[in-house]
Every structure is written in C-alpha cells, then in structure tokens.
C-alpha cells in the first residue's frame, strides 16, 4: 500500500486508528473510572447503588446498540461512510457536552439522567464506529490496525492518565474531544475527494467481505457469529468479574495501575503495547481459536497467581501479575476490534458489530457487576471470589481446548493456520 502511494487509504487507516483509540481511551478512563469517582466521591452514592447505576448504563447501551445496529442495516446506512461520519459527529458532540457538564452534577437523579444520555451516545457509537472498518481497513490489515488502536489506548491509559478524579479526567478528555468533534464535522459535512475515495472501498474484495464471513448476504445469525459472541462474552465476563474485586483491593492497585512509581506504570503500558502487537500478528496469521485459547489460558494462570498471593499475603505483589493481566487485556481487545468486521459483509457489519460488542462486552459487564454486588453482599471473601473467577476461566480454557483439538469439519474447510503432512 505504501509502495502504491495510496494516500486516501493510508489517511483512512489513520482516521480509524485515531478515532477508535480516542473512543476506547474515553471508555476505559472517563466512563469506567470517572463515573465511579463522580457517583462515589462527588455525589456520595453507596457502592451498591453506584454499581447498579453502572450496570444500568451497560444494559441501556446494549439495548440501544442492538436497536440502532438493526436500524442501520435496514436503512442501508452500513454501506454509507458519509452517513456514518455524520452519526459519529453527533455522537462525539453529545459525548463532549456530557463530559463538560459531568463534574458539575451533584445529585443522584441528574447522575442517572446523565447515564441514560451517555448510554444513548455509546449505544449509537458502537455500530457506527465499528462498521467503518469495512470502509477504512483492508481485511489483511485488520489485526495490525486493531493492534495499533489497542497499543495507543492502553499505553496512554496507565502512563498519561491523570488521577482517577472526574474533574481531571474530564479536563483531559475535553480538549481531545472538542478537536475530534471539529475534525469529524469537517469530514462529515465538507465534500472532500479522499472521503469519496474511502466511501467506495467497501465494494473492493480486499475490504468488504471479512475473513470469516460466509458467501452471500446472509442476515441471519450463523453459528460462527454465535460462537464468537459466546467466547467474547466469556472473556469480558471473566475479566470484568475478576477486576471488579481487584480494583477494590488497594494493595493490588497501588502496586500496579495506581503506583506512584512512574516506571511501574510505564512497564504496564509497554507490556500492553508489546502484547497488542503480538496479538495483531497472531490474529492475522493464526487461527482465532488458538488466540482465544491463549487468552483464557493466561486469564486462568493470572488469577491463580493472584490466588496464591491472597493465600500468602506477605510482601509486595510481584509485577508478573499485572503484566499477565495487561497482556491478556491487550490480546482480547485486539480480537474485539477486528473480529466483528471479519464475520461480516458491508451490509451486515452494523448489526453484527452491535450484536458482538453489545451482547459480549456490555452484557458481560452488566451481569458481572450484578454478580459481584451479590457476592459481596453475601460476604464472599476475595479468595473465594478469585477462586470462582479462576474456575470459570479454566472452564472456558478447557472448552476452547476441546474446540482446538477437535475442530468441526466446516472449520477445516474455511480456516487456515497449518497444514498437516505437507
């Protein structure tokens, strides 16, 4: 592509990486950390009520994403890049306004209203942004592009993130988001030749149909998409359920993500980058089931390490634990950014992405939050909690191991990776 001096395509890659990286950074910092601080410290909500509010956010986002993804498919907006850019502009504008007013919210009622509006923006944002993959990123490069998005977002999160206070996070995000709104406005409403070029790319064979998409324009949910949703749900669920408890354990946060020592946070950031690049390479060149196997395997190993430390709670927790955590998170985030476009066609991408991200990511967050609250109110200890999460990770690991060892006939026909006896 560089050799051909295909600048519109390169600009498209840059646009997609920038947009998704900023969006994801906003999600992992402002939405996940800023809102917790706003509800807890500023408004004074109890832990349980705050967790319920966050679960509501996940649930509404999930429903909006599904409804809007389906609407986009029916209106054929999935194949219109200009329409997607206009929608993205509206979403980012709404999010910018919401971010600006967030620190001044002082009551629970306003907080819940804020959450409802934020869910609307996030829910529309999911199918809109993910469906731009078919316009902007060639199938062959999706793993690498996803790796760059993950690397940028997760390097910035531990290294450049301000203190986890809503005022600081809002201040940091506002500058970036205002610039993004302006940029998206120009791209969406000013007639630019390179946008016209990009808008046609989804009709090319190297862009439109994903690696794992079946032939034809099937709009029904097939077994492969369902399997991927279940696997990704498992990953998000295990991650969220475990992290919800670890984030409340000061010894693990202060020695890693919240460490006052910048070299520790830099180490976590670099681990994220290296793991994301590995994931990008493996996603492109390897069978995705093997990647899932690695993810569940490392999750199980990492939770077992935390369990060992909990059972012998002396001394500083070793950095190997957050290192493995960062690795796993980067691995699955790369898969999440690339996989939904790869099981879709330009026509089906909006609903498939909404299904995938909403049902796996947001539903898993919703259920795991509810479960974590229930376990905590039942008096479950950290050790018991992590034991269960670890058992769950092992269960998924074993299931994936069986799928890798005994692949179905269809997989043999449709997937590469390695050839026996050649």
């Amino acid at each position: 592509m560089m050799r051909k001096h295909n600048w519109p395509t390169l600009l498209g890659y840059g646009l997609f990486i920038g947009m998704m990286a900023v969006g994801y950074y906003y999600n992992v910092t402002f939405i996940q950390l800023g809102l917790t601080d706003l509800g807890g410290r500023v408004i004074g909500m109890s832990e349980v009520r705050l967790a319920m509010a966050m679960a509501v956010l996940a649930l509404i986002t999930c429903m909006v994403a599904l409804a809007f993804g389906l609407w986009m498919r029916r209106q054929a907006w999935s194949t219109s890049l200009v329409m997607k850019l206009r929608l993205a502009f509206l979403v980012v504008m709404l999010q910018t306004i919401l971010t600006a007013v967030a620190p001044s919210i002082s009551s629970e009622g306003l907080f819940l209203a804020w959450i409802a509006l934020a869910s609307l923006a996030l829910g529309i944002g999911v199918p809109v942004t993910f469906s731009m993959t078919v316009d902007l990123v060639a199938v062959r490069h999706r793993g690498y592009v996803a790796a760059l998005i993950t690397a940028v977002a997760y390097f910035a999160a531990p290294v450049f993130s301000p203190p986890w206070l809503v005022e600081h996070l809002a201040m940091q995000m506002l500058g970036v988001m205002a610039a993004s709104t302006l940029g998206l406005g120009v791209l969406a409403f000013v007639k630019l030749p390179f946008i016209d070029e990009l808008a046609k790319q989804h009709t090319k064979p190297e862009f439109g149909r994903g690696r794992f998409a079946r032939s034809g324009e099937q709009t029904r949910i097939d077994r492969r998409l369902l399997g991927l949703i279940v696997a990704m749900f498992g990953i998000f669920f295990v991650d969220s359920l475990g992290f919800l408890r670890l984030v409340e354990t000061p010894v693990y946060m202060a020695s890693a993500w919240l460490s006052p020592d910048v070299s520790v946070r830099l180490f976590i950031g670099v681990t994220h980058v290296v793991a994301a690049l590995i994931a990008g390479i493996l996603y492109t060149n390897f069978n995705v089931r093997h990647l899932f196997l690695w993810i569940f395997g490392i999750f199980a190993l990492m939770h077992l390490m935390y369990l060992f430390h909990v059972r012998s709670p002396f001394g500083e927790p070793p950095l190997t634990m957050p290192m493995l955590y960062a690795m796993t998170v980067s691995l699955y985030t790369v898969v999440n950014f690339a996989i939904w476009a790869d099981v879709s066609t330009p026509k089906t991408i909006s609903f498939n992405a909404a299904l995938g991200v909403a049902l796996s990511g947001w539903t898993a967050t919703f259920i795991s939050t509810a479960l974590a609250i229930q376990w905590r109110t039942a008096g479950m200890t950290l050790e018991q909690h992590l034991s269960l999460v670890n058992a769950l990770a092992m269960l998924f690991f074993l299931a994936m191991l069986l799928l890798v060892i005994f692949p179905s006939r269809s997989r043999h026909r449709h997937q590469g990776g390695a050839r026996r006896n050649s």
């Binding site: 199938v139 062959r140 064979p205 690696r211 290296v274 690049l277 590995i278 390479i281 493996l282 492109t284 060149n285 390897f286 069978n287 690695w294 395997g297 490392i298 190993l301 077992l304 390490m305 060992f308 059972r311 012998s312 002396f314 001394g315 500083e316 190997t320 290192m323 493995l324 690795m327 050790e383 018991q384 034991s387 670890n390 058992a391 092992m394 074993l398 191991l401 069986l402 060892i405 005994f406 997937q415 590469g416 990776g417 390695a418 050839r419 026996r420 006896n421 050649s422």
Partner: protein
C-alpha cells in the same frame, strides 16, 4: 477420540479441580518482610520460607511441615511435620518441638540442646551458594563453549539424519515468517516461564516444573538447530560446496552457536539479539507443532483459497 488425548484431558481436568480448591494447598509462603506467629496462633498446613524473617514464638503451632529455602526462621513453637533446611538460617529455640524429622540439606542451623526432634535428623550434601557467583575467565569459558557447541551441532546432525522433513518445516517457518514466529516465541516464553515459576512455588509440582523447563529448553535448542540448518544450506549454496544435508546442518549449527556466544560479548544489545533469535526459533517450533506440519499464515491461506475459487 485419540486415547493419549483423552488421558491428557483427564489429567488436566484433575489438575484443575486441585488448583481451584482452597483446601488442597493450604499453607503459607513467605517471600519477604518480618513476620511472627504468636502464642496460641496456628498455621494450618505447610510453611515455606523463601525470604524474609519468620519467628514462630513459644506456644505457636504449624500443623504441617516447615521448609526453609532462604531467609531466617526462628522456631520456638510446635511443628506438626518435618523441618527441612535447604538454604538460609534456622534457629531451634529451647521450647521448639518438631514432631517429624529434621532434614538438613544446607544453610546454617543453630539448635538449642533443649529443642526436641521426635523423628530422625538427616543430613544431606550441603548446598553452599555464594552471595555472588564468580565470573568465569575466557579460558574457563572456552571448554564449556566447545562442549556445548559440539553437542548442539551433533544434535543438529542427528535431527537432520532422522527427521529431515520436520526440521525443514521448522526452518521454513523461522525463515519465511520470522515476525510471526518471534511473536509466538515471545508469548510462549513469557507465559511458559510464568507458569513454571508458579508451579515451582507449589513445591509439590517442582518435578513438573523441572520437566517443563527441560521441554522448553529442548524446544529452544530445536529452534537453534533450525537456524543451523538454514545457515548450513545458505553457506553451501553461496560457496557452491556440495555438502550433504547432515554436514551442512552440523557446520551451520556450529556457526550459529558461535554467533550466539559472540553476541554475549556485546553488552545489553547482544543478549537481546540472542533472545530474539531464540524466540523466533521457539515460535517456529510451536507454529509447526514440533515440525509435524507446515505453517501457513491464515490470511495467505484464505487468499489462496479465494483465488482458487
């Protein structure tokens, strides 16, 4: 279903059940810091001390055995099982009572005559580890290097003689897809070593850890041999020598091993390059399933099929 796979899965499932149950590995592992167990307090299960300082005061109890692998341990209470000293300092105070054996493998023991040991006192070969290992001189390193290099080169010769196709597949993966192989090798290395260290801490899984280290080592050497084969073939092609594959592999591996040793001389960067080469080799071994299948990148495979269609 293949029988060995069934057995493997059954063992794996059994291991999971043990790993997830908190009652199986009850005990304490001390890595650092100062800790004391007061009178009336009890530690259920084993106590392993790798570092730090632990004082088991009079009236305290450890129901299992105590393993001292490092650090300082002072015992004045009751020990239900054995006390094993491998490294570090152990003091048996006058009120100390060991119900099992006292095993001495190394370290420093200070035992009060009043301290009681119900079982036998066994002494093995002392394990004396100096604080800083002396750096070998170049003259001392030469024989080790020669033996190591010749050994790996001979292994390469045997590998090419008896499993040429397998080695060729690994070499193809390493040369054709070095980035993919490097990424896979790095992942296997980091996760594999973390797993092995974790297993070593369980103490009961130390034999499995040793087996794992051996397997990982064999895979790394297999990767070096693949590079040796590539180097040997390259040389015989460029210099137009008519070498047999075994001879080319032998000479190539000699060169690769010499290069790896030479890299050690360059500070920091040399070591990193050596690790990188090992990672690519290790990854190639894994990508090809120890050389049992040819590695084809998924995207290439897809495009090939699309083109055929």
């Amino acid at each position: 279903m293949k029988r060995p796979l069934v057995i493997l899965l059954a063992i794996l499932a059994a291991l999971i059940t043990t790993a997830c149950d908190q009652e199986v590995y009850s005990g304490r592992l001390i890595l650092d810091g100062a800790h004391s167990v007061s009178a009336g307090e009890r530690i259920d299960g084993e106590l392993a001390v790798v570092g730090g300082r632990v004082a088991l005061e009079e009236g305290s109890t450890v129901t299992g055995s105590v393993y001292v692998v490092g650090g300082t341990v002072e015992i004045a209470g009751d020990i239900g099982g054995d006390v094993t000293l491998l490294l570090g300092d152990l003091t048996l105070e006058p009120r100390a009572h060991v119900h099992g054996d006292l095993n001495l493998g190394g370290g420093r023991l200070e035992r009060s005559p009043e301290a009681t040991v119900a079982g036998a006192v066994t002494a093995g070969i002392g394990l004396q580890v100096p604080a800083e290992l002396p750096q070998p001189t170049p003259r001392e390193r030469l024989p080790r290097f020669l033996i190591q290099t010749l050994f790996v080169a001979l292994l390469a010769l045997l590998a090419v003689r008896f499993m040429l196709r397998a080695v060729a597949r690994v070499a193809d993966a390493a040369s054709g897809h070095p980035v993919v192989a490097g990424a896979m090798g790095l992942l296997v290395g980091v996760v594999g070593l973390s797993l092995l260290v974790l297993m070593a801490f369980t103490i009961v899984l130390i034999p499995v850890t040793l087996l794992g280290i051996l397997s990982l080592g064999v895979a790394v050497v297999y990767g070096w041999i693949a590079f040796g084969v590539l180097t040997g073939n390259f040389l015989s092609r460029k210099l137009e020598w008519k070498l047999r594959p075994t001879t080319a592999a032998f000479l190539g591996t000699l060169l690769v091993m010499a290069l790896m040793s030479a890299l050690e001389v360059i500070p920091l960067v040399g070591g990193m390059i050596a690790i990188l080469i090992s990672c690519v080799g290790l990854g190639a071994v894994f990508l090809t399933g120890l050389g049992t299948r040819r590695f084809v990148p998924a995207v290439d495979d897809l495009e090939e099929r699309q083109a055929k269609a």
